[in-house]
């Protein structure tokens, strides 16, 4: 096990290096001139040359890269925002809980809805409830979450005079009020993400329900509830968990849109505002931090599997 963990961790290192190279070269080697746009769009410096010098971009690319990575690794220095002049990492950390909370609530909603409908659909295969469940999954897959979000903001405001709360309150200040604010975006995002979870839950459970040990459970005379929930569900959950893990980057990408619609001060809104203000140091650092987190998360998931299923270690 120790050897396996070590190998997986070492394999993540080249990925991280490549991630940093992608971020770095995007800002410097792409056809659009970042510095020119920053000067023309928001006058961050009097001349292009002045800003280039200030950003250290007058030096050779490899020197810049090593300097950039060096600062991050040795001092945790991700640079400062050109708009607010604040350290980027501090701002990121301050906003991170909002995005995490939204992601966790969204995952909770989508998993609860998806698993419940998936179970009903599988257990009552080819009945009316199965068809309703499958139609729901198809609808959830088709309706874009930002379209639904716009409709949820607009339609109740017109017909019921109800609008989502826009003044954000932190979870630590007033938990109830915070949940009231977060529930609407989490419900919208979660329900549209429940489709794939429901589908995979249904097919995995159907598969498990046909296995011998389930027949044994039935023939012992166990009630349906015990057979499905205690015996079958556990084994059918593995692909569901894999899917949720795989979808995590989607929640971070989606947070850009959800946070801008519901005005939540999270990382997504931070990134989007930086992009519209051509604050490229922020764009660069947020990309890097988030990608590094995804690499870390994937590593964690792989290690969890190896822990749960010893066979994986020998592949």
């Amino acid at each position: 096990m120790k050897q396996y963990v070590l190998r997986r961790v070492l394999l993540a290192v080249p990925t991280l290096v490549l991630v940093s190279i992608i971020v770095f070269s995007m800002m410097r080697l792409m056809p659009g001139d970042v510095v020119l746009r920053m000067v023309e769009g928001h006058a961050y410096a009097p001349t292009v040359e002045a800003l280039r010098k200030e950003l250290g971009m007058d030096r050779p690319a490899h020197v810049q890269y090593l300097d950039w990575v060096g600062r991050i690794v040795t001092r945790g220095d991700f640079g400062t925002s050109y708009w607010t002049k604040q350290p980027i990492f501090d701002e990121f950390i301050a906003r991170f809980p909002v995005t995490v909370e939204l992601a966790v609530l969204t995952i909770l909603v989508s998993v609860l809805v998806g698993i419940l409908i998936g179970i009903v659909s599988a257990v009552r295969q080819d009945t009316a409830s199965d068809y309703i469940g499958r139609v729901f999954a198809i609808l959830a897959l088709s309706v874009p979450y930002f379209g639904l979000a716009v409709l949820v903001v607009v339609l109740p405001a017109i017909y019921f005079k109800w609008t989502p709360v826009y003044t954000y309150v932190a979870l630590t200040v007033d938990p109830l009020q915070n949940l009231k604010i977060m529930m609407v975006p989490a419900l919208v995002f979660g329900v549209t993400r429940a489709g794939p979870i429901m589908r995979i839950m249904r097919s995995a459970l159907l598969e498990v329900l046909r296995q011998d040990y389930i027949r044994t459970a039935w023939s012992k005379g166990l009630p349906e509830r015990a057979v499905v929930l205690r015996h079958a569900l556990k084994n059918a959950m593995i692909p569901v968990i894999t899917l949720v893990g795989l979808q995590t980057p989607l929640y971070i990408g989606g947070s850009v849109i959800m946070e801008s619609i519901f005005r939540l001060p999270g990382v997504g809104l931070f990134f989007f505002e930086a992009l519209t203000r051509l604050d490229y140091p922020v764009v660069q650092s947020v990309n890097l931090i988030v990608a590094a987190m995804v690499v870390g998360l994937n590593l964690l998931i792989d290690l969890t599997y190896a822990f749960l299923d010893p066979r994986i270690r020998y592949h």
Partner: protein, 315 residues
């Protein structure tokens, strides 16, 4: 360890066995006069009502986009200040917006963008995925290792963040968004092509072709490619809805095709939110159009996948 496959190995193997058995039996009874690509559509009509519905929606969308200038008497940016905020009437079937532009006209022209970008990006992406996937799997070794670490690094970025960054640097426009979405699609799906080619490569007839003196180019084009083709077609058709949805998200954020040209995502975007409170149809119709298109492509893609490559089922 392949982290992209959602189902666990045991379940997918069992599903393959079950589905393969059924499909093989079914195909044996068919008259041998039809080629496979004609047969797929016959099978679709007979056995896949949802797939057929999807195909019809896609066909209607195609017709609407191609015939947009014939179908509607208005121009897509033709303003008429005396006819602002008309709900629905005989002259404007889906109403008009804040400067009197006909919503139906804009939806029809918007379908053009969705289809241009959708088909363009998927074609480009499938070519790239095929090239990368075949090269990586067929030649293996260091090339494979190198390419796969690159794919790993790319996949570490939450899709939307990276796409937003690149588009902000390149500037908006139909070609830029098609290019960016195509490259992203290609890199991601090269994994699936690689997986298929890895198993094709192990067949004895590949060895036979090599022994008969065929060069690598001939083996890959004449022997590997045709066998990977069903999978590539499936990847492309199921990917269409994702690409169309991503284009809409980017246009929603203002990073897609610039106004005055209409896009569905752009019509839904927050810039028009104030007008939507007054005229909810401005939010409803683009959302409906987008959902229908995604639904159509999803159902068509799913049905084609079931008919062409049952191994990919359940994703």
């Amino acid at each position: 360890m392949p982290s992209w496959t959602p189902a666990s190995d045991t379940t997918s193997a069992a599903a393959t066995a079950a589905v393969d058995g059924g499909a093989a039996l079914h195909l044996e009874r068919l008259p041998q006069t039809r080629t496979w690509y004609v047969d797929v559509w016959v099978q679709m009509l007979r056995r896949k009502p949802l797939g057929t519905t999807g195909a019809i929606i896609v066909a209607v969308m195609l017709a609407g986009a191609v015939l947009a200038d014939v179908l509607t008497p208005y121009g897509f940016s033709e303003t008429n200040l005396r006819e602002r905020f008309i709900a629905m009437d005989g002259a404007h079937w889906l109403g008009t917006d804040q400067i009197g532009r006909d919503v139906l006209t804009r939806i029809l022209y918007g379908a053009r963008i969705s289809l241009y970008v959708g088909f363009g990006a998927v074609t480009l992406g499938s070519l790239l995925a095929t090239l990368l996937g075949i090269a990586s799997a067929y030649f293996g070794g260091r090339l494979d290792l190198f390419v796969q670490r690159g794919v790993d690094a790319w996949m570490a970025f939450p899709g939307l963040l990276l796409l937003m960054t690149i588009l902000s640097l390149l500037g908006p426009g139909v070609w830029n968004i098609t290019l960016v979405l195509g490259v992203a699609f290609g890199i991601q799906n090269s994994r699936i092509v690689r997986g298929v080619v890895l198993s094709i490569k192990e067949n004895t007839w590949i060895e036979g072709a090599r022994a008969a003196g065929a060069g690598h180019l001939r083996v890959t084009i004449v022997h590997v490619l045709p066998n990977a083709l069903p999978t590539i077609i499936v990847v492309a058709t199921t990917g269409l809805s994702t690409v169309i949805l991503t284009e809409a998200s980017l246009s929603f954020l203002g990073l897609g095709v610039p106004p005055p040209y209409p896009t569905w995502g752009g019509m839904l975007s927050l810039a028009g939110l104030d007008h939507m409170y007054r005229a909810p149809w401005l939010a409803i119709w683009p959302a409906v159009a987008l959902s229908l298109a995604v639904f159509g492509f999803n159902m068509l893609g799913d049905a084609l996948r079931d008919l062409l490559d049952p191994r990919l089922k359940g994703g």
